[in-house]
């Protein structure tokens, strides 16, 4: 196959998703310093999993956001996914009411504050499974939609097809973003499974999740890596990887790929995605390299193909 130059219209933007794990402050700062140098287009900042994780507070995130914006990155601030306390709600409101950066809604509490207040992003945990549901959310002023992780490419193509996109309040087509790399966030709970594993209560958890840079592996009794415990969040053990699906992604109207931060080799992952998706490098070679980088559990792409999410099939 002859490599061809991808035109600007075909380029798929790369979004760095929020760090889902509890990384120490210095690790986070170094990570984002690396992101500033990467080919990523957009960076989503903020703590979305657990309100007790405060290595960076909102003002720290805002400072980081300004630094990354100065480096030419589009910055999006994400709100927490599971809102429980009045304090959680106040933080949603503070994030929604700043106007320096676009906001990604984690739940309907955020939607209530963002509706009608300019463009925003519909996060992956807003339950949009059909075109009429996306139409409803577009009318609120959303400009971008991160599809639920369990949706297939054929569903995306029906919901927001490239030839007939859903349009937002100002007539702008809604962009589709898809979770393309990382351990998939599958479930949230009020309970902290990391604390439970350590026989600690949630309010006195000693922040043990700081020790699990890629989460805490949960395997079946016969040692099959299955899920990952990340505090109140449960993820897949397999790393979802859609690097080989470039043509199918474009056909389904996906114009952005979300890469979810991992502790090891993530800068290489970003470069591989940029090379393969936007510069026609070999997907097979990149897959081989990525497979060697990911933590236990291997690769998966089942959700994209309307299969069980843990499955892998060659594109």
């Amino acid at each position: 196959m002859t490599p061809h130059q991808v035109t600007a219209a075909e380029r798929i933007a790369l979004t760095i998703g929020p760090v889902l794990y509890h990384w120490p402050r210095q690790t986070l700062l170094e990570f984002y310093a690396g992101i500033a140098e990467s080919p990523a287009d957009t960076v989503v900042l903020g703590e979305t999993v657990c309100a007790r994780r405060i290595e960076l507070k909102l003002n720290d995130w805002l400072g980081l956001a300004r630094d990354l914006a100065a480096e030419g990155k589009e910055v999006v601030l994400a709100t927490q996914t599971l809102i429980e306390s009045a304090a959680d709600l106040r933080l949603v409101q503070r994030i929604a009411e700043q106007h320096d950066f676009m906001v990604e809604a984690g739940d309907a509490s955020a939607l209530q504050h963002l509706a009608g207040a300019g463009p925003f992003v519909l996060g992956p945990h807003i339950n949009i499974y059909s075109r009429p549901a996306l139409v409803e959310h577009a009318a609120l002023g959303a400009s971008r939609w991160v599809a639920p992780v369990e949706l297939s490419l054929d569903a995306l193509a029906l919901i927001n097809p490239p030839g007939d996109p859903v349009r937002g309040a100002t007539g702008q087509p809604i962009a589709t973003e898809l979770f393309a790399f990382g351990r998939a966030p599958l479930a949230f709970s009020a309970r902290c499974f990391t604390a439970r594993h350590h026989r600690l209560s949630k309010d006195e958890c000693e922040f043990r999740c700081l020790q699990d840079a890629d989460g805490l592996l949960l395997s079946s009794t016969e040692h099959q890596p299955f899920l990952v415990i990340n505090g109140t969040q449960t993820q897949s053990a397999a790393t979802q990887c859609l690097i080989g699906e470039g043509a199918a992604l474009r056909a389904a109207g996906v114009s952005r790929l979300r890469l979810s931060p991992a502790a090891t080799g993530f800068d290489a992952v970003i470069r591989h995605f940029d090379s393969v998706i936007n510069h026609a490098a070999s997907a097979a070679d990149a897959l081989h390299a990525i497979e060697a980088l990911v933590p236990s559990g291997g690769l998966s792409n089942g959700f994209a193909h309307r299969r069980p999410g843990l499955e892998w099939s060659d594109a």
Binding site: N127, P132, D154, I159, E222, T234, L310
Partner: protein, 343 residues
Amino acid sequence: MTQESRAPGRRKPELVCPAGSLRALQLAVDAGADAVYLGLKDATNARNFAGLNFDAAQVRDGVACAHARGASVLMALNTFADARDASPWYRAIDTAVSLGADALIVADTAVMAYCRDQHPQLRLHLSVQASATSVDAIEFYRDRYRIQRAVLPRVLTLSQVGHVARHTEVDIEVFGFGSLCVMVEGRCALSSYVTGQSPNTAGVCSPPSAVRWQDTPAGVEARLNGVLIDRYAPNEPRGYPTLCKGRFDVAGRRDYALEEPTSLNTLAILPELIELGVSAIKIEGRQRSPAYVEQVTRVWRAAIDQASAHDARFSVQPAWQATLARLAEGQQQTLGAYNRPWR
């Protein structure tokens, strides 16, 4: 939060009971349910199980039966319309209206928008599957779709329930008894990760079609699409392999890493729930037998009547607890998130 706080309620909460069949509906109503909830025989509701639920004729009979005894009928339409074909969801709404259902229990904005546009008089209850855990989330759905009641996910503490109830005009319904999801409802794709089908997409979790039981020298194994969920010694009681209730290995320790098989029972805190202004108490279990529904309904009818009586001195009757404990099939009963034993 733009609203003034409201004074706590003290009104008698409605008892909302599950009906997986016409027989269960009749028994629930006779045993004192104020409302029953049911679903159609398809993927439009979150208990899409074989042999369960209602066809149109049964809904009509159920509505007649309930209304004759002064009870209302709520239709659960609480999955998310399929991108390939939303028409079953729209048809279900039209069916509910034409057959006289008193309200719909909804989770999907596509469904809510259709109700708003086509049936503006239809009463809407926000399903637990909509994952609305805050006042602002509930107000979002009230402002846009005029929902009149919200069922709270089983993740909030008592004081958080009270905060929500005080700050919204939407009626608040909470779960009182039944199986317990440890994950936030509407935010769990574990089942589709393993089987391709989830509550949001298909109205099922860990579906029976994906379950395999195998006798092996190491014990009886329960697998879900090939993944070993649990392995039982010969004398161990076996449970259905709901995937979050399996035993797994974490850092070398085999355990119920996510959740032990437990069931929710809030009888002990019923007076507090009433004091907080909760409008309705829901019994889980459309998949349970008519006899189960009847007995649970009887206990909760008596308990709500006693707890709501003027100058009530509420105490949990030993006979109530004995009945509920027996029906919970020997599982440990908990107060779930309401008192946060894990906090």
